[in-house]
């Protein structure tokens, strides 16, 4: 998807759709600020969705226990009245100032958004595929070593090795098998944490002799000019040996890398953004940092800290988005104004 039309106009761009990015939408929305969110993952939730969707969280105030995925579902429900716009599966690549004095955020998919305020809620950075820590492998990356499939045709007629034991590894091994010259699946153990159906298909192809399965670790690559010619494999307790190969696809899950946000002009110290704790603004006026990405004396990387940071951020953001208006502190419990924004006009409270 490429959006070549004129930039999207909004009040606030939030980079990162994890729990703190989502709660920022809520806090900003209460004070009439419209948001667009960008996230590299193809779904919302950040670490809660990617790392621990099924793990319990016990330290959300007044929520004795909820799973990562439940927390995100609830936050999504909370943001609903404010109709945030999501740009998922995209990486925020560039931040610049427009001649009109707005912040312009561009993504790797060509989405361009102009806003008065930018909120970095990017946690530990972008989730990107884990790269194999093999000496010299970077010479082959994107030439004959890949961590994702963009075009299946890249693998047509190739002697392909697929590494990994999860859904991505098995799905691609099975799907590329008909067009590759050969497919060898390499995994560290003869057990697979993938959908039973995929495991069944893979085992079927292996037993028919249409796919090879090796229980081993890849410890080296050999080749020239970006073209792999063989891999070094090592089986438990055995000696390393070479296996011819001309394309390698590795699926070891995702890892967090700071990425392009580091070159936005925001000041970083040890991969974290120092902020003013009265408003969580960065060195750039109108650019804020909330959640795990920021640092200040006493900082604790907790979801609940990020929620607090989002509320104070929204207050200062208001002065950039609505400079002509006075910030009016209100309680959601009693403000009919806030009730209207939240779509709760039918409440029965004393505000009526």
């Amino acid at each position: 998807m490429t959006e070549n039309s004129s930039p999207i106009q909004t009040d606030v761009v939030v980079i990162g759709a994890g729990p703190i990015g989502l709660f920022s939408v809520f806090e900003l929305g209460l004070y009439d600020m419209k948001t667009h969110l960008i996230d590299i993952l193809d779904r919302v939730g950040g670490q809660c969705a990617e790392l621990y969707p099924e793990k319990p969280i016990y330290d959300i105030p007044a929520v004795p226990v909820c799973k990562g995925s439940e927390l995100i579902d609830r936050l999504m429900e909370q943001t609903k009245p404010f109709s945030p716009v999501f740009h998922l599966g995209q990486m925020a690549e560039k931040l610049e100032k427009t001649p009109e004095g707005l912040w312009r955020v561009s993504t790797d998919h060509g989405t361009v958004i102009d806003a008065k305020v930018v909120v970095l809620a990017a946690g530990g950075g972008s989730f990107v595929p884990k790269k194999m820590p093999i000496k010299g492998i970077e010479d082959y990356e994107n030439k004959s070593v890949f961590y994702a499939v963009r075009k299946m045709d890249t693998f047509r007629g190739k002697h392909l090795v697929v590494a990994g034991g999860g859904d991505s590894a098995l799905d691609w091994a099975v799907n590329l098998q008909p067009i590759a010259a050969s497919v060898t699946l390499i995994h560290r153990r003869n057990e697979f944490r993938a959908a039973p159906d995929s495991v069944g298909k893979m085992r079927g192809l292996v037993s028919e002799g249409k796919m090879a399965l090796k229980i081993a670790n890849i410890t080296g690559v050999t080749g020239a000019d970006g073209q792999v010619s063989s891999l070094t494999l090592k089986e438990e307790g055995g000696e390393p040996y070479e296996m011819p190969c001309d394309c390698l696809l590795g699926f070891y899950g995702l890892t967090m890398k700071l990425g392009p946000v580091a070159s936005f002009g925001v000041h970083f110290e040890s991969e974290l953004v120092p902020v003013d704790t009265s408003c969580f603004e960065t060195n750039l006026p109108g650019v804020f940092a909330v959640g795990d990405i920021n640092t200040y004396p006493g900082k604790m990387k907790l979801i609940l800290s990020g929620f607090h940071e989002a509320a104070l951020m929204a207050k200062k953001a208001f002065s950039y988005v609505h400079p002509d208006q006075r910030y009016r502190f209100q309680y959601t419990t009693s403000s009919s104004n806030l009730h209207t924004k939240l779509g709760k006009e039918d409440c029965n409270c004393k505000c009526k």
Binding site: R193, G237, Y252
Partner: protein, 104 residues
């Protein structure tokens, strides 16, 4: 109470240990920049270490969850563990661990 941690370039660090802490926390507190991206919830495999005998068999066996999560680590062997799932006790004084590729 201490552990010995060998980093990725082979340097051995003697680190003070605290009872009930995970080995990941001890390494991090000792100033070695172990990745441990998920913060110790057995959800990312970026605190992969090797534990050799005689220490290996003195540790409680890994859970199914830890074994599964090791699929996301590199160069996994029979000595592989996730440091966030190995907890220090008094009888592990002198424990020797080695950081695995991808853990820094």
């Amino acid at each position: 109470m201490r552990i010995f941690c060998t980093d990725l370039v082979g340097k051995v660090h003697e680190l003070p240990a605290t009872e009930e802490w995970s080995v990941m926390e001890i390494i991090r507190e000792g100033g070695i920049p172990i990745l441990a991206q998920c913060g110790g919830s057995c959800a990312c495999a970026t605190c992969h270490i090797y534990v050799k005998e005689p220490w290996k068999s003195r540790l409680p066996a890994p859970s199914e969850e830890e074994i599964g999560m090791l699929d996301g680590a590199f160069e996994v062997t029979e000595e592989s563990r996730l440091a966030c799932q190995v907890f220090y006790t008094k009888d592990l004084d002198g424990l020797e661990v080695t950081l695995a590729p991808g853990s820094m």
